[in-house]
Symmetry: C2
């Protein structure tokens, strides 16, 4: 696709290029455009059919958008802005430097500008910050026919027309009507007769994660956003909810790997920025790990007496970390999906205890066989290593399963309690278990 | 909510209970019902208003569904089945034991039974296995008015009426028309005049992950599923795509923690089943970690000479693992979001190299200060530890960033190349670096 565009560009076959692009999907065109050499971007963009241009623009990444805005004449800019939904405009503005934002707002229709400024005021990650104000609102005494007339008149600019909201004169949300209800109802029915009054909604200040969770739980197509006085101020549609869901997943995954989350794509992040997201956690974990070193130092004599014990330290530490990591990640995910709650903590501990015994016994047996047959380190050393392994696994799975639940209970993000932290804790304890067991069995 | 239901049940205030439930959302009712003592479940379920009952049923988990089906009379079962969408029926059947499946199919309408059997034949995780066959299909010479008549006549049983598909006499997909298009068009227009012919679709055998990706990329409300001859056989709607997205994320997260993925909720998994998902990876990683032990053994003399070196092993190994884990998880996620491709491998390596230098220098400096001021281990030992740290970090980030990309290239799942595997590799190399550096600087 990309090669074809380049070819047509080089041969200046603009007409052919135009008709080729006109047949493509806007997201695909945006992908192709972003791969083009930047200086050809405005040229190709101007070739696009008018009605496609704004949709392609929305699908591009912010650096390409910024480049284009800077290349636009005032009237070109106004044309694009007129076609944007308010929530898309807000998304774009949030990524732009101040001077570009100023220019955008200057060329936006005053009514829309006011809405944009309203939305920009909501806290980052709130429902208000991701909503759009373009929804169809109906009144309770309208008939089905009136409703269709209103949808036909105003629907072209709305992000969805399929869910319409019934409000009173103070904009208070009374109910919702779907276009399916409208199509299947008698034309003279009034809205209050057919509307669903038991409406799932969110408030402007609620976290966008809650918005995504409600879409999941209730299979919604759109959710109304109301203010503190229960007045309808906007809606969030399913496509935006899906983006939120993906962002939240990325955030959780990054936290589990001890990285401060970011919503920038990997290749767009600067080196220093990437470093800043990673190094604080590394420092913290490094300092914590030095305690583990202290434990080794305090058992120096035992190690001097039985230097062979040193060689099993990495295996014991790694296995403990892996077991704890499995449990913590499983529980973190179960918490985030709502499969596990604080009240389940004893059920979880009991379950992990039994799984840990099974895993521990399996690993200990395999390891014992290996130590006796291949390493030939003697029964007592083998026993020391294998018992340590069993105890460490039970302990690791206990810590891995409980810390995320406790973290959530006290208002921390459970995702932070994943492998890196669990590993650091388990390492220290596994060494103590190791040297204590060695003391008992080997007398060192 | 739950307490209130229990209270009304105990007082046998069934009428009050009914009107309370009638005002609730089906997903909420399902949550409450699943928490009830199982023997009261059929009683409460029978109290539900007819039209709600089937919707509540769909929202319950499979064990509660199974219990209910067993309690149903034949006519009750038939009533519920009549209300189900085909894709929901398939989801339910997939979770039931053989005798229940037989009973369900026996009481299903023969036409629907045929469709269910068709869908059950598609491979697990394919687009065909998650589609529904209930869509609105139109013909190209129908007018807008004809289309509305058809939607009004058949729409009540369709999972979505908002996207209608135009097919020819052989069911070949020609285009799509949205209800928005229909509402905003002249009533006498024909479908071929207003339909969108450039339709994004999937084939029955494509992976459901691709379905979810297309919803994300193109902001779709539904996607048509076609067979090898491009005939329309079904559609997937956005709510199902959102579920697929969540499942895929859970799968990736589990793989990153060295667990074989499962789609069962945590508390529904048996102990032995959980053990089976975890222990093979633990065994594999344990055996790999013994190589790290071998490296320690081969440098036993150096350790005997400078026993203090032992105490830094955990910190060096953990830091290496954490650094590698950060890079691998970042790249795995970027690959899965499509932010990074194989062609970017050198860009990624160059970026990770510079980030690693920054992180390595930061950590080495902090550590050097700590070793000199607090641990007072002498300049040469401090230098050995800090240089090892720097080299290990650079190596760990290189391995962490490249292995997932290479895994994907050769058709492996990159998610497996996360912290546990990277840690095992980095551990071994960090020890070699450590002892070589010690040999050079300390002469041991």
């Amino acid at each position: 696709m990309y090669e074809k565009v380049i070819e047509l560009l080089e041969q200046k076959k603009y007409h052919e290029l135009k008709s080729m692009l006109a047949d493509m999907n806007e997201a695909d065109i945006a992908s192709v455009l972003m791969e083009l050499p930047q200086e050809t971007l405005p040229l190709v963009y101007r070739i696009l059919p008018k009605e496609l241009a704004a949709e392609v623009f929305v699908n591009m990444e912010s650096d390409a958008q910024e480049f284009l805005i800077k290349a636009f004449s005032d009237s070109e800019l106004r044309e694009v802005l007129d076609e944007l939904y308010v929530d898309d405009a807000v998304d774009i503005i949030e990524e732009m430097p101040a001077n570009v934002v100023k220019r955008i707002l200057m060329h936006t229709d005053p009514v829309v500008r006011k809405s944009i400024n309203e939305i920009l005021k909501y806290p980052e990650d709130s429902a208000g910050s991701i909503m759009t104000i373009e929804y169809v609102d109906l009144k309770k005494y309208m008939t089905v026919d009136d409703a269709f007339t209103r949808i036909r008149r105003t629907g072209v600019d709305k992000e969805t027309i399929y869910i319409c909201y019934v409000t009173d004169d103070n904009r208070k949300l009374l109910g919702l009507v779907t276009v399916k209800d409208l199509l299947l109802s008698d034309k003279s029915k009034k809205m209050f007769e057919i509307m669903e009054t038991n409406v799932i909604s969110v408030t402007t200040l609620e976290d966008k994660e809650i918005v995504a969770d409600k879409f999941q739980k209730y299979d919604l197509m759109a959710i109304p956003v109301v203010d503190q006085e229960e007045r309808l101020v906007g809606i969030v549609t399913f496509d935006d909810a899906m983006d939120v869901l993906q962002d939240e997943n990325t955030e959780d995954i990054e936290k589990m790997a001890a990285i401060t989350p970011t919503d920038k794509p990997y290749l767009k992040m600067g080196i220093v920025e990437t470093w800043k997201k990673r190094v604080p956690w590394l420092l913290l974990l490094m300092v914590s790990a030095t305690f583990t070193g202290k434990i080794i130092t305090s058992f120096e004599d035992a190690l001097q007496a039985q230097i062979v014990l040193t060689s099993f330290i990495p295996m014991l530490m790694d296995t403990g970390g892996n077991c704890g990591g499995q449990s913590s990640v499983t529980i973190i995910r179960a918490l985030s999906l709502g499969d596990v709650r604080f009240g389940d903590i004893f059920k979880v501990i009991w379950k992990e205890f039994r799984v840990a015994l099974l895993c521990g016994v399996t690993l200990a047996i395999v390891n014992f066989g290996k130590l006796m047959l291949f390493d030939r380190v003697g029964v007592l050393v083998s026993l020391t290593v294998c018992l340590t392994m069993l105890f460490t696994i039970v302990f690791a799975k206990f810590v891995g399963a409980t810390l995320p639940i406790l973290a959530k209970k006290i208002g921390f993000d459970p995702a932070v309690m994943a492998s890196p932290f669990i590993t650091t804790i388990v390492d220290a304890i596994s060494l103590i278990i190791y040297f204590k067991t060695a003391g008992l069995i080997l007398g060192v």
